[in-house]
């Protein structure tokens, strides 16, 4: 008999063989038969031994397959459940994340600290008409949008916006400039 690689499996096989032996030994008494001859008992023992050997061989084969799957891919072929993707397909998948993955990445992306400076009413309270764009940058940070206006007295509109993750409400603040100086401030409505 081949030595078992896994003691647990081997012990289970031994227990199974023992119960089988006990069953066959008890069965004649349960069934009401008379005591078998020695020759009959020997035949039964031989049959049990063959059963145990075949079970142990099967266990060994299964252990060998398990060990082969656990080894590195270069070690040899494995029987996968699905076809292995080609190298080209795998390369494309690595370089081209799905739409869901891109959305998930965008949602999990950390906002840079400088983009959150303006989320503070105290910062907006520091703004005064006549301040320059540099002064506003130092207080509120970079705006989300820097756009022109159809109003003749406004050259630039800086927009800051965020969404409250609890209430889903959008918060928008705007600073408007003429000739590089603040002419209007639209402070966000804070929750």
């Amino acid at each position: 008999m081949k030595p078992s690689r896994t003691l647990g499996l081997s012990s289970r096989v031994r227990r199974a063989a023992a119960w089988a032996t006990l069953f066959w030994a008890v069965t004649p008494f349960v069934s009401g038969q008379t005591s078998p001859t020695v020759e009959g008992l020997s035949a039964e023992v031989r049959a049990l031994r063959q059963t145990v050997e075949s079970l142990q061989q099967r266990v060994s084969e299964l252990e060998a397959q398990l060990a082969a799957v656990s080894r590195a891919p270069a070690a040899g072929p494995v029987a996968p459940a699905a076809p292995t993707p080609s190298a080209r397909t795998k390369l494309v998948e690595e370089e081209d994340p799905s739409l869901f993955e891109r959305l998930l990445d965008g949602m999990q992306r950390e906002d840079p600290p400088s983009s959150r400076l303006w989320i503070d009413p105290a910062k907006w309270a520091q703004l005064k008409k006549g301040m320059t764009t540099d002064e506003v940058l130092a207080i509120l940070g970079e705006p989300m949008f820097d756009e022109p206006s159809l109003n003749r007295r406004i050259d630039q509109v800086w927009t800051y916006r965020a969404r409250n993750t609890e209430t889903r409400e959008r918060v928008i603040g705007k600073v408007k400039f003429e000739n590089g100086r603040i002419v209007a401030i639209e402070e966000p409505t804070w929750p």
Partner: protein, 296 residues
């Protein structure tokens, strides 16, 4: 309050600031544009009063910007034809110096070409048309500082010949701008001078345009404009004059145009223009217009 303030997700333009753009497509590419609609009523010489209401123009602008290279592609659709306007690729050699190539607007003219840049509905000169060229393909070099800017353009001038323009702008005094340009086109030359001054809500502008047609005939045009804007309300007064040597009459136009900015992206204006002189050669005493412009 602090805990609630921490519960914000910044809605950013893909992590960067977009200048002059409304709709970010990628980190470097954005889309903008405007919709211009109007209703116009005019008096015709034969006694038939004309009226037209239409979506005058839909413009879509694609803007691509990196650190040193930028590109612009503007498409204008008037309901019948789609035309390229500004289509350029620009290389910023430094903060002041840039080189551009493509289809670009002439340096000349106080009045803007697009409706979003005009203080009123109409152009100033005969037939309510500008006296300066519009778009042409070519290349330009521009040097821009806070005090002045200088540009040279060379390109296609029509009739299979080359044209060039040279322009200078002075902005060294707060609120005051002086502009001078010369354009050499096949068969004619144009000189354009204009100055503007902004103070206390007022914008004053004066312009002179002179074209030598090379055959002894000239066209001279000039305008004077005052715009006053306070809050969302504005009003423009404009007097313009055009003298063409081959026309029997000079053209004189007086325009009043109140406007109201509903939001930074929505403007409405009215215009009443009276042809003071030249109605016989042009046809018509007046033009009344209502215009709505939306930018995106």
């Amino acid at each position: 309050m602090n805990n609630k303030l921490n519960a914000f997700v910044v809605l950013g333009a893909l992590g960067g600031t977009l200048a002059n753009a409304e709709i970010p497509l990628t980190d470097d590419l954005s889309l903008a544009g405007y919709i211009d609609m109007s209703a116009v009523s005019w008096d015709a010489p034969d006694g038939y009063d004309g009226f037209d209401a239409s979506v005058a123009e839909v413009e879509v602008d694609f803007n691509f910007t990196t650190d040193v290279v930028s590109a612009v592609a503007e498409i204008s659709f008037d309901g019948y034809n789609a035309n390229w306007e500004t289509v350029t690729v620009t290389y910023a050699a430094s903060d002041e110096l840039s080189i551009s190539a493509g289809n670009m607007l002439s340096y000349l003219g106080w009045e803007a070409y697009d409706a979003t840049g005009l203080y009123q509905f109409s152009y100033a000169y005969r037939g309510f048309s500008p006296l300066y060229p519009a778009y042409a393909a070519g290349a330009s070099i521009d040097y821009v500082t806070d005090q002045f800017s200088f540009g040279v353009w060379v390109g296609e001038g029509g009739q299979e010949e080359v044209s060039y323009e040279v322009a200078f702008k002075f902005t060294g005094v707060e609120g005051f701008t002086f502009f001078a340009a010369f354009a050499d086109d096949p068969g004619y030359e144009t000189v354009n001078l204009w100055a503007s001054y902004e103070v206390e809500g007022f914008t004053f502008a004066l312009e002179y345009v002179g074209t030598d047609w090379g055959n002894g005939e000239n066209t001279t045009g000039y305008l004077a404009m005052v715009n006053y804007a306070t809050g969302n309300f504005g009003i423009t007064f404009r007097y313009s004059h055009e003298d063409d040597d081959w026309e029997a009459e000079d053209w004189e136009l007086f325009t009043i145009s109140p406007s109201y900015t509903f939001t930074d992206h929505l403007l409405g204006l009215l215009e009443f223009s009276s042809v003071l002189n030249g109605e016989e050669s042009f046809g018509g005493d007046y033009q009344i217009a209502a215009e709505l412009i939306f930018t995106y």
